[in-house]
Symmetry: C2
Subunit: 334 residues, 2 copies
Amino acid sequence: MPQNRKIVLKSHPKGPVGVENFDMVTDQTGPMAAGLVCVKVDHLSIDAFIRTTLDGGGFHQSAKLGGVVPALGVGTVVESGDPAFVVGDIVTGPMCSQEYAVLPAAMCGKVDTRLGSPTAFLGALSIATGLTSYVGMKYVAKISGGETVVVSGAAGAVGSLAGQVAKLLGAGRVIGIAGGPKKCAFLVDELGFDAAVDYKAGDVSGQVSALAPNGVDVFYDNVGGEVLDAVLMNLAIEARVVLCGAVSQYENMADVRGPKNYLKIAERDASLLGFTIFHYPDKYGEATTAMADWLASGELIVHETVGTGLENFPAAVRALLDGGNTGKFLLKVS
Amino acid sequence: MPQNRKIVLKSHPKGPVGVENFDMVTDQTGPMAAGLVCVKVDHLSIDAFIRTTLDGGGFHQSAKLGGVVPALGVGTVVESGDPAFVVGDIVTGPMCSQEYAVLPAAMCGKVDTRLGSPTAFLGALSIATGLTSYVGMKYVAKISGGETVVVSGAAGAVGSLAGQVAKLLGAGRVIGIAGGPKKCAFLVDELGFDAAVDYKAGDVSGQVSALAPNGVDVFYDNVGGEVLDAVLMNLAIEARVVLCGAVSQYENMADVRGPKNYLKIAERDASLLGFTIFHYPDKYGEATTAMADWLASGELIVHETVGTGLENFPAAVRALLDGGNTGKFLLKVS
């Protein structure tokens, strides 16, 4: 079995996570057995949920002290204990922060390169990113033609897709909220958003109001905090707020800032709709086909920010939380 | 025209409202004209929304300095400028804090005493209380048979009806949250709730969890704040939180405590549904008939707390916010 370099959690972060909360160690990969596969990790997906695993309580799940950090990845099967996979297969799964992952075959998905590149299976074709965008817009927000849609974290992995999906599903006007003029220009010039709001420029509520004078019909929120409150001030009657994430709060999960303006939801006959993609397995097929078709036709534009080297996993997680990426954030491991 | 005693707003409260924020003055009633009626106010409805009108901004509307305070009431027409009303008619409408109200006939509703007592038209048969309970449970929460329903502010005007309506609509188990053992006993012994949680006894989340071990399917929230957060910890998958009010926040509207646990809504595939009753005019008829039938059959139990004297309007508003009433809070004016 190959030597395995791993990033492990050294200490639970107190406040903002930093590289000092991690260690790199080298040991053997775990033992193989029937039903397991050993995967050489090619790319890891740097996602905001990772931060929530580091506190010991865990919004999604928990990283253990001394253990690897949960992360999705794509890699190549180097040893298989399951007839469904052969050496050389490209697979996605919960690889965690390491070079080699030994995991149950049932937790791996085979990459069908006719649908997209291997890294697309961490982005536009992944359950946690692409399918979350599609299902959130179509089956949670239930957007209908001509509506005004706002997406926060719009230059991020989910947001950049969610805004484009809204447009492809017939939204009248899609406004993205992102940090800084460069990301805002990216949304409009490269991804086809109708307009963008720079939250770093202040008065987000005023900016949204100016761009959506008749109110926001759908808000797809990845951010929470002040951005959520600003959009709540601009809801149209019967607006739907899709609660996808709250990256602004993931370093403060013990004392989350709840939406102070939540009473606007009552005032506007609106609703705040939570969802986890795992609640919609019956939509995976449709969503995958739709996203793959839009990728193939060029209607869906994918942008990747790619770091290199497993040793940079801690810095990448920090950078993600600081908004250092545009589009899907990946770490090339080998 | 009769002399008119009025309670007027003297100053905007800074924090908790007190009797010092009001004055009593006497002047003439306003001039009559075609389309207006003059009503001698019999009872005023002491509702939590009144507090939100006193800050100058206004969640619902605003009381003006030196002006009367918005309040619903029931009274007797003493002069009519509209063919739809004659002297002696009993009517409901936005009477405000005064003995005589001159208001547009179009804003008055005639009391049909075959359906209930005049004060029932401020409670079980009123739009803001009874119809809000019915529509919130049936058309917003869409409760279905056997579900576990929690109601906060359960000993209050809306909550005491909402819990009973849930039961009458087929809920499996109805749990009320109220302040103190006396109110809790009232819910179970007199109104037929299945169980009650005393929020003053602490650990509301633990109490709800013990009473609803499989989770809360519907939460009808009149309170907000810590109570809302406690119930959010106990949501079942696909739970619906009906956002009816937030009385705990009405003295703090400039810095509302948003629900810190709102991410549970995402985690549980739940939703937070805002509504205003005015969005459902097509349900008024059905709701009125249902409530009147349940009143007539004795299946719906109504409890009133009745104060006396217009001069006690400020103290009554204070008492309402302190939980001093059980059931509908009324002030007998004359």
